[in-house]
Symmetry: C2
Subunit: 685 residues, 2 copies
């Protein structure tokens, strides 16, 4: 378990420290010695008395008491070292860089487990094995380079891959990103991304803790834990962005239903991130751009002022922001005219605010003051300032740095002349600044951040379902598809409206049922999967004669063992599905029915339990949402009833996790109600 010794040890030993800085053991010692670490450093190296100027012990046994051990020796020697350190030297933090454990073979996995047992037994923390180490503001326990600038308010970055971590750090440094900690969790034998989040959450201190977390993840082993702590951190004011790679490997599985075909573990990741309010990024460049945006005050509205000394990038940024549903509103009025008077002739303030290639730092100051104080509609400011290569622009970047510090609105600096104005940018970064090299990548990222849903409030209200009745149906059912009777029981218990209906396997029963339901009604075969394809659906049955004729015909259709009769409802076909997705619990999806799911895949997804707000956002985010609102004189679908049905389906599957997948397809929605007409539920216990 993570403890304070991992972050702030009084002493660190590098077991396997050497003079060869081309090897991890040498490189990590060099990095440690060059880091601001103020405690005692020890080295264990059987072949040397002194390593990089540090006195070396030949064995771990010779060491004094030491809080933290960084281990860079062959895997087979690690267990012994850990045992001695944990049991005799009071060591409570371990960073094992060595490879050759669970990632390699079964023996390695067994060794890894034994090491964890030893460390667990003393309440110690283990990072790794098979990792590049950990970097904190107190010490550098990683062997990689480059080493980023440290800052207690900088990024906490947790990576499931060591090489990727350093590539992301390298990329982030170019933008001026500072780091509070970098964790390479390696094999996550004891501490994975989830545990790191848990620690950051539980140890969060609203005054001193950094509020920015970046994640690079290849798999989420415990989605529930992940969600709990990520959401909690965000509720405490943190901002989290993550790359979860491997998104395209999903799919390819045989699909037994619409939901099955549409769902994938990656969709579950999307849903989890939305629920927590995590900004999902697709790569390193985007991740560090979002992190840069996180370093600035939060953008509170859509209206951006673009301040520029060059037209082109401002136009491209306008395009990117507009595509991302942010606005670059026209600015006018007396205050705008006043500002224009302070700029060179030919400038414009209509937004983009273009103060020309000859614009000065002083003018930029006037513009930023006006954006901050006079143009109330403006929520954030993007400043594009590069150089055609004529003169130094230290004064401009210095002014920008000052305005960024004092402005309440976020001012995002875009420096397109990265290669040329190196000195100016380096100074800006050294003084704490973070900038963006490309206006379009910035604009896309800003829109992504702004459009990421807010984390769900902790007190979201959910309707009640009849848990006892649901459990009794589920407990009584075996694996496979539920019978219509049981489905009706479940829907009724969950409070999901359904069409009056019943099933008959004899003519007499069928007739009686028809009288009970009333006309018009619908008849469907029971048995075949794709009912319409085999002529197994008849609509608009208006009399008993037809009931009998169709019953006889349908019972001849292959695989048919009964006929279902149902009340014929009017309205627009909508769809709700749910599917169990490993540790994620259930994903719940909704959309319009028919071609909208089959051809256009126009569905949105949430993670159960889906709150009413989340369900509403899912519905409103559909491309076909206008149809739900009622387009060209068509009757709308009652949105709140649709929301409620989605929420109730999510409650049902939470109450009955044995439901492997379920489809309500279609439900018929009109102005007054949204009613399930056909349902399939598959149990897998």
């Amino acid at each position: 378990m993570i403890n304070e010794k991992l972050f702030n040890p009084s002493g660190v030993v590098v077991v396997g420290g050497s003079d060869d800085v081309n090897k991890p053991g040498g490189a990590v010692l060099r990095n440690l010695l060059q880091s601001p670490f103020k405690g005692q450093t020890y080295v264990v190296n059987p072949k040397a008395d002194s390593v990089q100027g540090v006195k070396s012990c030949h064995t771990v046994e010779e060491l004094p008491q030491v809080d933290c051990a960084i281990i860079a020796i062959a895997a087979k020697y690690c267990l012994h070292a850990v045992e001695v350190l944990a049991k005799e030297k009071g060591t409570r933090a371990f960073v094992i860089l060595s490879a050759g454990f669970g990632e390699e073979n079964k023996e390695g996995a067994a060794l890894e487990r034994r090491i964890v047992e030893v460390i667990d037994s003393v309440g110690g923390a283990l990072i790794g094995p098979n990792c590049t180490g950990i970097l904190t503001t107190n010490y550098n326990g990683s062997f990689t380079s480059p080493v980023p600038q440290l800052d207690p308010k900088g990024v906490d970055f947790i990576s499931g891959s060591g090489a990727t971590a350093i590539f992301i750090v390298d990329n982030g440094m170019r933008k001026g990103l500072k780091f509070n900690s970098v964790w390479s969790v390696g094999n996550s034998a004891q501490i994975g991304v989830e545990e790191a989040l848990e620690y950051l959450d539980e140890s969060f201190d609203s005054e001193h803790s950094s509020r920015i977390k970046l994640l690079y993840i290849e798999s989420i082993n415990n989605p529930e834990k992940f969600l709990r702590h990520a959401a909690s951190l965000i509720r405490k004011g943190c901002r989290i962005a993550a790359v979860k790679s491997g998104s395209s490997e999903a799919g390819g599985r045989a699909a037994s239903s619409h939901t099955g075909a549409l769902a994938s573990p990656d969709i579950a990741v999307d849903a989890l991130f939305r629920k927590a309010g995590i900004v999902r990024c697709s790569g390193r460049e985007e991740l560090t751009t979002v992190a840069g945006i996180f370093m600035y005050p939060e953008l509170k509205g859509r209206n951006i002022a673009i301040v520029t000394h060059a037209g082109g990038p401002a136009v491209m940024l306008t395009d990117a922001l507009s595509n991302g549903k942010l606005e670059v509103p026209h600015i006018e009025g007396p205050k705008a005219a006043e500002l224009l008077g302070k700029l060179f002739p030919g400038s414009s303030v209509g937004n983009p605010i273009d103060f020309l290639a000859t614009g000065t730092a002083e003018q930029l100051g006037y513009i930023l003051d006006a954006c901050e104080n006079d143009f109330e509609e403006i929520d954030g400011i993007a400043v594009i300032f590069g150089s055609p290569g004529l003169f130094p622009i230290y004064d401009v970047y210095a002014l920008l740095a000052e305005k960024i510090r004092t402005s309440k609105k976020p001012i995002f600096p875009i420096f397109p002349s990265y290669g040329w104005v190196k000195g100016e940018i380096e100074e800006f970064v050294r003084n704490g600044g973070v900038y963006f090299p490309d206006e379009v990548l910035f604009g896309n990222a800003l829109a992504k951040v702004y459009n990421t849903p807010r984390v769900e409030p902790e007190d979201a209200q959910f309707p009640c379902v009849d848990v006892e009745r649901i459990r009794s149906v589920i407990n009584g059912a075996g694996n496979g598809y539920l019978s219509p009777d049981r489905i009706h029981d479940l829907l009724d218990a969950a409070g999901i409206a359904r069409a009056k209906e019943g099933t008959a396997d004899s003519e007499a029963e069928c007739l009686e049922l028809a009288r009970e339901i009333g006309f018009p009604l619908v008849m469907k075969v029971v048995g075949p999967v794709h009912k319409s394809d085999v002529g197994g659906v008849v609509l608009n049955v208006r009399d008993e004669e037809t009931v009998v004729r169709e019953f006889r015909r349908m019972m001849q259709i292959k695989d048919t063992y009964a006929v279902m009769l149902a009340q014929q409802l009017r309205g627009t076909e909508v769809f709700i599905g749910a599917k169990r997705e490993g540790g994620f619990g259930h994903i719940v999806m909704c959309g319009l029915g028919g071609i909208f799911i089959e051809v256009l895949k126009d569905v949105n997804v949430g993670l159960a339990p889906v709150s009413p707000d989340e369900a509403r956002a899912m519905i409103r985010g559909l491309k076909s949402y206008k149809i739900i609102q009622g387009v060209r004189g068509q009757e709308p679908v009652n949105e709140e009833k649709f929301v409620e049905a989605v929420v109730r389906v999510s409650m049902l599957v939470r109450t009955a996790p044995e439901i492997f997948e379920m489809d309500l397809n279609p439900l018929l929605g009109n102005r007054d109600e949204v009613v399930a007409v056909d349902a399939r539920i598959r149990i897998e216990k």
Copy 2:
């Protein structure tokens, strides 16, 4: 007009050259003197006898004969200088850096016109005014920095914005891009992007000319010329990528029809680029990434091998490529096993080919040889190689450079440790290499390049239309919506199938017409715009009694002055529209009808004349294409008939450019035919 003196002058004078390199006149002289220019350099400066070591004339009159003049003096002095140079000094190439012309006010525009007249009168070429200059392999006539590495096979880059040009160059240099020429066309008084393309096209020499063109454009003044030369260059083997910014400013115009609402000048740009085969980019970073891809052999198929020493970036790249419809196919078999034997234990060759953090240059050589020679299914190779900071990797990058030179398949190098392995990357770039810093941006760009349609062949076949009849209808029509009779004439003349129909404004006429057309038929009001909204459409009319009853009812509806009767056809509703878009000619759009255009905006667009191949690609690219193919037992739409209808609509509007917009909405498509059921055509002469 562009001439050879602009590129290869024997002498260049900088009019307004000074010692102050913080001003354009001083900076351009410095750049010129530092460039490989082998000819004579002159300076005109009234206040100095020598400038930056060059003897200075006090007036232009004192100059000897000189091919090319770079002018950096106040606008008001330019005309005189140009006159003397053009008429007395034999100058035939002018680069006017000075601002204060058409971009500022009317007087400036007049001055600009007079300068052009003078230069035109001697057959001279003019770049600018209000530009940053021109850079060629022979001399540097631009005042900006940084100056990129020159290479006759490098990029020809034409920019409508000077500052943007230098920002793009700066960005491109970071990836190792080399340039053959950089044109900042400024106000394009004589030479704009179109003229530059024309020159590059007409002077193209398959042996010596560079094949890579980049464009940054804010407006296309002559789309037809632009298309002609861009397409011609691409047919000659060139590759063109362009940013056309301002895409979001479109829209906001009152829409009088579906086509009007969906069309915008930006869509026309898209259509033009697709027709020419230009890769459209959204920003600087993407443009230079695509340019980097252009520096490598063309990717001939979808199958990419990913070679990596780190897992994470390979996974992210796989995601990006898969999202872009490229493949990372599984590699197996004896050759794969053989390769695996040459790598360290723990490596994998299944693709991604991961040869671990410890992988060597030698092993990379084996892998690349196998990809080149053994794995036939592989079309291109992406190599990801960074550094965790342990040891130098000069050998790896040197080997990569060699394999890139000798391999027939493109090998794309991705170097994620840009900040750390500076020395290695600089050497790679100095030796001619181009690399990519981010695997996801690279993957997205590669997919974009691969998925950009090929340029249309010059000999695309078009069906005939009855030009004489079309012209006669158009010549006889006034502005506004055409009457149904004229519409029928046009459709018949263009060979577009339409439903039998007619219009009646009396009961007797209506009955007669109904008998002629036959039952079932459709009745619609003539007059109201949105016919269904007012109850003005009745389907499935099966007898004369109904015809009479509905006629009476419909004539009561507001704005109705007649009733249209039409053959009732069966099939799927599809849509074809066309709209005149300034100099672009007509855009032609197609899609499914109803909600597909109204709600989902699922339309694709081409530029008239649309060839059958282009129409087919438009139809197949629809999100709803599966419906055209016939989904779940529904009858398909005859694709070739749909293609033909699109092509014929495009021929019609080419023949009748007076058509401002037209909708065929819907056409009904079934297995056998695609027939226009309702049409609106608006003329604006």
